[in-house]
């Protein structure tokens, strides 16, 4: 149960951070005309194809006591970053970045450019246009981004193992615990946790797909202004 709570806490933190970081990043990627922006898109997409161990390995090196990030962290907070919950959150944010940013980019880009022009002509600056037009019309994408980054973090294994190790209550998430159970041939316990993850994933995705479907049919838009 401890592991399950830890996984949920980790996934929640990651999803929240990614929502805050992902929005400006996705906004910039969706609207910039900078010619090298594709390079940044590649970096954002990298975790999709990179083995988690590779990402985890470099994250660990960076966070280690000799790594730049590790030294900065130690100087600021007085303890090291590797094998802590904070370190785990940081690595997971990187690992789930594309799952938050890509749905956001897609939904920002799909907002009709004429609506943005209309907003500007009606006197709204970029900030107001974002909050009043782009964001409300991108709600399905925002929801998808939050849920995908949450679910993806819930299920991650390689990065957690590399960066967090296997410390009960600190970094031992559900997926690690399942692995532990299998290693010690406790198939019953492993099955219980695995089934729980499966059900959670199914329910969460079903919710997203169901909500987005209804939004597309415009029968339910709780974020609509009067």
């Amino acid at each position: 149960m401890e592991a399950m709570w830890l996984s949920v806490k980790l996934a929640g933190c990651v999803a929240a951070i990614l929502l805050v970081l992902g929005m400006p990043l996705a906004y910039w990627l969706a609207y910039t005309k900078w010619r090298w922006k594709f390079l940044l898109e590649v970096i954002v997409a990298l975790p999709l194809v990179l083995p988690p161990t590779v990402l985890g390995f470099y994250a660990l090196v960076a966070m280690g006591s000799r790594g730049p990030l590790g030294r900065l962290w130690t100087a600021l907070f007085g303890h090291s970053l590797a094998f802590t919950f904070s370190g785990l959150v940081l690595a997971s944010v990187l690992y789930s970045l594309p799952f938050a940013v890509q749905p956001l980019i897609a939904s920002f880009e799909s907002v009709d450019g004429k609506l943005l022009a209309a907003s500007a002509v009606l006197g709204a600056g970029k900030w107001r246009t974002f909050w009043r037009v782009i964001l409300p019309l991108s709600m399905p994408g925002v929801l998808t981004a939050v849920v995908l980054s949450f679910a993806h973090t819930m299920g991650e294994f390689g990065v957690v193992l590399m960066v967090g190790g296997n410390l009960a209550g600190v970094t031992r998430t559900v997926s690690i615990e399942i692995y532990d159970h299998v290693q010690s041939l406790e198939y019953g316990a492993a099955n219980g946790l695995a089934l729980a993850l499966l059900v959670i994933s199914f329910v969460v995705l079903a919710l997203v797909y169901g909500i987005n479907r209804r939004v597309r049919r415009r029968t339910w838009m709780p974020w609509t202004a009067e």
Binding site: D112, K114, L115, A117, A118, S119, A120, V121, L122, G123, A124, G125, R128, R132, V133, P136, L137, R218, M221, W223, T224, A225, E226
Partner: protein, 379 residues
């Protein structure tokens, strides 16, 4: 109507035009030939129709005035304010120009109610003022009963009224409309335009109304500006402008080898065509703004004329002319033939075709010309 016209004329000769646009903008898109917009316009208060074929640069011009597109050179002055000056590096952002722009797609915010759409441009005002203005404009455009609906829940004509109300409630200094009434029936259209005119009798701002429809120009026009290939080709009353839709320069530069003078015989408006007598022969051409007896010029590309050695049958082309070849001349891969059918036409065929048809000077041939290949140009 006459009195109003002369009144507007007097106003503009005294005061400076409320909108002055002198700009140049080059557009290079990978998939289209380069396009240059180069216009000089002084627009007085009242309805100004911007007329031209699609691709003439009408929307680009509007985008530049609105500030959505930055011109390469020139300046734009609204009232007393310089909103764009390339030399001094002035480019006022669209949100600070107080220029209303109604797009062809209307661009109503789909997630907002009609009322919220109308309130959108009033955020800088106190709440009471916002509500008062919104209520008043919704009433004057007869959409007050729709205030709580969303755009998807109202009809096309209602959407157009809401879009107008949303733009005008901000009390803009200029109103631009990009074919906003497309797809509406004539009655609905004129009702909306009447409301717009009524609104503007009090406000007296310049309205720039874009259309590519001759009917609309005829119906609305007080002052028409004809735009073609990025340039102003004519300005004046609808009659003046529509009578000269294309210029001779344009026809020649666009490669019309045949430029024939003739007189209009009759108009067949229901078919959208008219007959033009060229010396001893007649051509059916697209309907232009002309009357029977008017002199017109007809431009036809040599490559648009088909040549046959026997009289063809069962053709959709409306013009079939019998004639004799007067001369044949090889020009690279093509053969240029001059054919006398009463009037002399230039025709181009490929070398292979000339060989197969055994074309000789003096041989009798038939020319086939589609109505749509005949272009009217300014006399």
């Amino acid at each position: 109507m006459d009195a109003v016209d002369s009144g507007v004329m007097l106003d503009t000769s005294d005061a400076e035009a409320p909108l002055s646009v002198h700009i140049r903008k080059e557009r290079r898109d990978a998939d289209r030939p380069p396009f240059v917009l180069d216009v000089s316009l002084e627009l007085p208060a009242g309805l100004n129709i911007l007329f031209g074929p699609s691709g003439a640069g009408k929307s680009t011009l509007l985008d530049c005035v609105a500030g959505l597109v930055r011109p390469d050179a020139g300046r734009i002055v609204v009232g007393e304010q310089m909103v764009f000056d390339a030399e001094r590096g002035i480019h006022v952002e669209p949100q600070h120009r107080q220029i209303a722009y109604v797009f062809q797609s209307l661009a109503l915010f789909p997630h907002l109610t009609v009322k919220a759409n109308v309130l959108y441009g009033l955020a800088h005002l106190p709440a009471a003022e916002q509500t008062m203005r919104a209520t008043r404009i919704l009433e004057s455009f007869r959409v007050d009963r729709l205030a709580a609906r969303r755009p998807e829940e109202i009809s096309g004509g209602e959407k157009q009224r809401v879009a107008l109300a949303r733009s005008l409630v901000t009390e803009p200094r200029v109103l631009m409309l990009d074919e906003p009434l497309i797809g509406l029936d004539a009655e609905l259209k004129s009702a909306i335009v009447d409301d717009l005119r009524a609104w503007n009798t009090a406000k007296k701002i310049p309205i720039l109304y874009v259309t590519h429809s001759r009917d609309e120009v005829d119906a609305l026009g007080e002052r028409v500006i004809a735009l073609d290939q990025g340039r102003v080709v004519n300005e004046g009353t609808p009659r003046n402008v529509l009578d000269a839709p294309r210029r001779r320069r344009l026809a020649q530069s666009a490669g019309f080898e045949n430029l024939l003078s003739g007189a209009v015989v009759d108009l067949r408006e229901e078919d959208g065509v008219m007959r033009v007598r060229l010396e001893t022969t007649e051509l059916e051409v697209p309907l232009g703004y002309a009357r029977a007896g008017d002199r017109v010029r007809v431009a036809i590309r040599a490559g648009d004329i088909l040549l046959a050695t026997e009289k063809p049958r069962g053709l959709s082309a409306r013009n079939l002319l019998e004639g004799k070849i007067v001369s044949l001349e090889e020009r690279g891969p093509i053969v240029a033939a001059r054919v006398d059918c009463g009037a002399v036409f230039q025709v181009q065929v490929t070398k292979g075709a000339a060989r197969e048809l055994e074309l000789r000077v003096g041989s009798g041939v038939w020319l086939i010309v589609k109505t749509q290949s005949c272009h009217l140009v300014e006399e």
